[in-house]
Amino acid sequence: MQYLLVKFREDRDVVVDGHILGVTNRVIELEEGLHTISLAEPYDFMPDKYEIPVINSTVVNPVEVEFN
């Protein structure tokens, strides 16, 4: 399994490949691979999504993305 940290100014549900899969600012455990990462409503964030490979991560060194 791999690890993802989605940074955002507040706690918000994280949407991975169309499914809610954790919250911002906490480490999300997920399957290795190319994933689409976005946030749940309201759509007040930029960019609208990331498409990134989540690979070669550990729980103390997760793949990081940030929404503003």
Partner: protein, 477 residues
């Protein structure tokens, strides 16, 4: 007299032309939240108030005919007899079972419990375990009244089996009846797609790709497919319809198709679904015994654990919600047997029948072993990850100027319990269990022994003992 024979022959020919298998129905509209699926994450307003998300229990019932069905029944019985206290409620561990994945013989027990709940403890022995299902099937096949139907290319031995299970065990219930119960466990009945060789799950998520409404299908049909042992029974056929216009490939499957470079396992899972959308190449799907692709039933559960859309994965990562897993328990009831080694004692090379049998079973046995170990590895990895993070953050506390690492969405306690005959402490009983055949008829004493073994092996499991201790109801002063 001759006239009468001619008339009978004409009647037979006409009725054989009409005989056809139960056809799955097309899906009238695509609604991703409707139908036979594990419900989407909801706050605790489900009518199933007894079963929490926080203690999440999944069972895998292997194949192996009546042997597997009885062994699985013994496990259910023991869970039923295990009182627990969880989040202020007193119940039995059986009340906390959330999903059961069943293969072949194991799918009978899983489906019966899914449809009728605890009634299983009143009548499943009489209605299934003690019956000579094989003999009854043979009697139907030899009944001249069925011959005209069996002469039809669209009606086969498996259709007689479906009728038998539908009439005498599942009372004509369909998957809509499972939905109407509004209760967990979610039952996953697994078969094997004869073309791809991959596992085929009787869930609406899978049927969406066939443009078909699983709800209308008798549960007996799914169980027949799951237990359609090669050569003895014929395959179950499904029609692959064009899905309703509003259907679009779910995002996790679409993303999986882009994962050839990054995760071949995920890509393979996605392509396996996507291929059903090629309607011109695959207008029909033919299914056989689930044991051909996974004789344990654990792969369906593993997919729900790994995949971003999996109902287990979502509950592992759901932080800050009422719903979400705290304790995750997997129990595998594996009724595998070990045939006695006669080959090694002889200086003559084994006969072709022996070589044929070994060729058919060796790969499957190895795959089953790896299936269980793969899940055990996943559970250990999760435990290790949580320990590593906790240890690092404890060390960081010693340096007040350093920020701790972010927490995982949720900390869970994963438990994996693998039950098999090899672990039976009594060598005599172990030998007897190991020598039981894969068949749909067993002597009453063997059935009783298997039920006892299911309970005893669970009772003897060190992980189960720890779990039970933690969940033990407090005794009032």
């Amino acid at each position: 007299m001759l006239q009468r024979i001619v008339l009978i022959l004409i009647f037979c020919l006409l009725s054989s032309g009409c005989a056809t298998y139960i056809l799955n129905q097309p899906l009238e509209s695509y609604e991703p939240d409707q139908g036979y699926r594990f419900p989407a994450i909801i706050e605790d307003d489900s009518p199933d108030t007894q079963n929490s998300d926080s203690l999440f229990v999944c069972l895998a019932f292997s194949g192996g005919g009546t042997r597997a069905a009885a062994f699985a029944y013994g496990v259910l019985e023991k869970l039923h007899e295990t009182p627990i206290q969880w989040e202020g409620k007193t119940s039995s561990l059986l009340d906390e079972v959330d999903c059961i994945s069943g293969i072949s013989g194991g799918s009978f027990t899983a489906a019966y419990f899914g449809l009728f709940g605890k009634r299983i403890f009143q009548d499943f022995r009489v209605r299934f375990l003690s019956r000579d299902i094989q003999g009854e099937l043979l009697a139907r096949a030899l009944n001249p009244l069925n011959w005209p139907r069996l002469a039809s290319p669209k009606f086969n031995r498996i259709d007689l089996a479906t009728e038998l299970y539908n009439e005498t065990l599942f009372d004509g219930k369909t998957f809509d009846d499972l939905v109407a119960r509004g209760k967990r466990p979610f039952i996953i009945i697994n078969a094997t797609d004869l073309v791809s060789g991959q596992s085929f799950e009787f869930t609406q998520n899978q049927f969406d790709f066939l443009g078909s409404d699983l709800g209308k299908l008798p549960v007996a049909r799914a169980v027949s497919a799951s237990s359609a042992f090669p050569f003895l029974l014929s395959p179950v056929s499904l029609k692959n319809y064009t899905p309703p216009p509003e259907f679009s490939t779910p995002e996790d499957i679409a993303k999986g198709l882009k994962n050839y470079e990054y995760n071949r396992r995920l890509w393979h899972w996605a392509i396996r679904h996507y291929e059903y959308l090629n309607k011109s190449e695959r207008p029909y799907v033919h299914l056989m015994d689930g044991g051909l692709s996974d004789n344990i039933g654990m792969r369906a559960i593993e997919n729900e654990y790994r995949r971003s859309g999996g109902f287990i994965r979502q509950r592992i990562n759901s932080a800050g919600r009422k719903s979400g897993i705290k304790k995750l328990v997997f129990i595998v009831a594996n009724a595998r047997t070990e045939s006695q080694d006669k080959i090694s004692k002889s200086d003559i090379p084994p006969e072709i029948s022996e070589v044929g049998f070994k060729t058919a079973t060796i790969a499957l046995d190895n795959y089953s072993f790896e299936t269980i170990e793969s899940m055990r590895d996943l559970i250990n990895q999760r435990r290790q990850t949580q320990d590593t993070l906790a240890q690092c953050n404890r060390k960081i506390l010693e340096c007040p100027s350093v920020q701790p690492f972010p927490q995982l969405s949720r900390e869970i306690e994963p438990i994996f319990i693998d039950l098999n005959f090899e672990a039976h402490p009594d060598p005599e009983i172990r030998k007897e269990l190991q020598s039981l055949p894969t068949s749909f008829v067993l002597p009453e004493e063997a059935v009783n022994q298997l039920i006892r073994a299911g309970g005893e092996l669970l009772e003897n499991s060190a992980d189960f003992q720890k779990l039970r201790q933690k969940l033990q109801p407090s005794v009032p002063d």
